[in-house]
């Protein structure tokens, strides 16, 4: 995106958090979101996402 990445302001925080920590945090957030929509036992979550669980072939009832 930028031929001189060191000039990107967004690079500065990367020195405090390593590449792998941030990648792991993104993976964790993704897993939590998928769990909430497709697997949470909460009746409200189940009813709101009911058709999506069936359409994705997830165990639903």
């Amino acid at each position: 995106m930028n031929a001189h990445p060191t000039s990107l302001g967004s690079l500065a925080p990367a020195r405090t958090g390593s590449l792998f920590t941030q990648i792991a945090a993104a993976l964790l957030l993704g897993a939590v979101m998928v769990y909430g929509v497709e697997f949470s036992a909460s009746p409200v979550a189940h009813n709101a996402a009911h058709d999506v669980r069936h359409a994705n072939g997830r165990p639903c009832h």
């Binding site: 958090g17 792998f20 941030q22 990648i23 993104a26 993976l27 697997f39 165990p59 009832h61």
Partner: protein, 298 residues
């Protein structure tokens, strides 16, 4: 910051592919769910798992409780605790909040599709970024993204579907938690197995052996199955109709999820190439140092 960029990319990919999936479902999948729910409503009062809750109730009242007209007016009359005793065996009972049929249900389906797609993009994009980085920052493209999407479809739909086929409302199945556990086992083993098979660059045949073992493992364990026929709750014409609907449902969900995963994979890879690669290219991050062994392992 890398995390922020991963999140924004996942949101973009999640909204686009989630909307696509919702549209595909609207065409083929949701009508089949609605048709099955009509049969489920008709069969429920006589069906063994649900009948016991209505022993004392007159039949018409019991039938009403299981219709999917989403009778909100009846929710508010069941304020006493006794009426809530039977909620957990059948999640369509009116006692819990559920979206009203029509626009409200459609909106929640769209929202859930976007949230699920964003969640999966948050798994797909970081893994693509690591893979792209391990190949010198040249690997992610819409073409390789299609391949990743196809593998994700295999790992999250097709292979688990061999053991636990997509279910229509009203079908009998083994206990929910055990099915969810087997599904998770199958997805993790399938994903790791495909990665070991396809991504290894050294000791390729050893990795393929490991991949084959991982792919076979969930089926050696065996998916939890219902005690009898999955459509045992239905009889006569309803059973015939449900068998037809089920066959259509498996094909409809397979097609819709395949297109959705191809889109999610391709868009994720394009996002990685455009917006994530500048932050993950080797040498661009002061804080991240990899030993040669770690680089090879990626």
């Amino acid at each position: 910051m890398l995390f922020r960029r991963l999140f924004l990319c996942a949101l973009l990919v999640g909204v686009a592919s989630g909307l696509l999936h919702a549209a595909l479902q609207r065409l083929q999948v949701v009508p089949l769910i609605a048709a099955a729910e009509v049969h489920e409503s008709a069969a429920s009062p006589a069906a063994p798992p649900h009948a016991s809750h209505h022993d004392a109730a007159p039949a018409p009242a019991a039938a009403h409780e299981h219709t999917h007209e989403r009778p909100h007016e009846s929710i508010h009359v069941h304020e006493d605790a006794g009426a809530h005793e039977h909620t957990h065996t059948h999640s369509h009972d009116a006692d819990e909040w559920q979206p009203a049929d029509g626009l409200e249900r459609t909106v929640w389906t769209i929202v859930a599709n976007i949230l699920a797609a964003t969640g999966y993009a948050l798994l797909m994009i970081p893994m693509l970024a690591l893979w792209d980085r391990s190949r010198g920052g040249t690997a992610a493209s819409w073409k390789t993204g299609l391949a990743w999407g196809a593998c994700a479809w295999l790992a999250t739909f097709a292979l688990p579907g061999i053991g636990l086929p997509p279910e229509l409302p009203g079908m009998e199945a083994a206990e929910l938690r055990s099915r969810q556990a087997w599904w998770l086992l199958c997805v993790v083993c399938s994903g790791a197995g495909l990665a070991a098979w396809l991504l290894a660059r050294r000791h390729v045949w050893a990795w393929r052996g490991i991949g084959a073992v991982l792919l076979a493992l969930p089926f050696a364990v065996g998916a939890p199955q219902p005690d009898g026929d999955a459509l045992a709750a239905f009889s006569g014409d309803a059973a015939v109709q449900m068998h037809l609907l089920w066959a259509q449902f498996i094909w409809a969900t397979a097609l819709a999820t395949a297109l959705y995963w191809l889109a999610l994979g391709a868009l994720s890879a394009v996002a990685v190439a455009r917006w994530v690669r500048p932050l993950t290219r080797p040498g661009t991050l002061g804080g991240a140092t990899l030993t040669p062994a770690m680089e090879r392992a990626l």
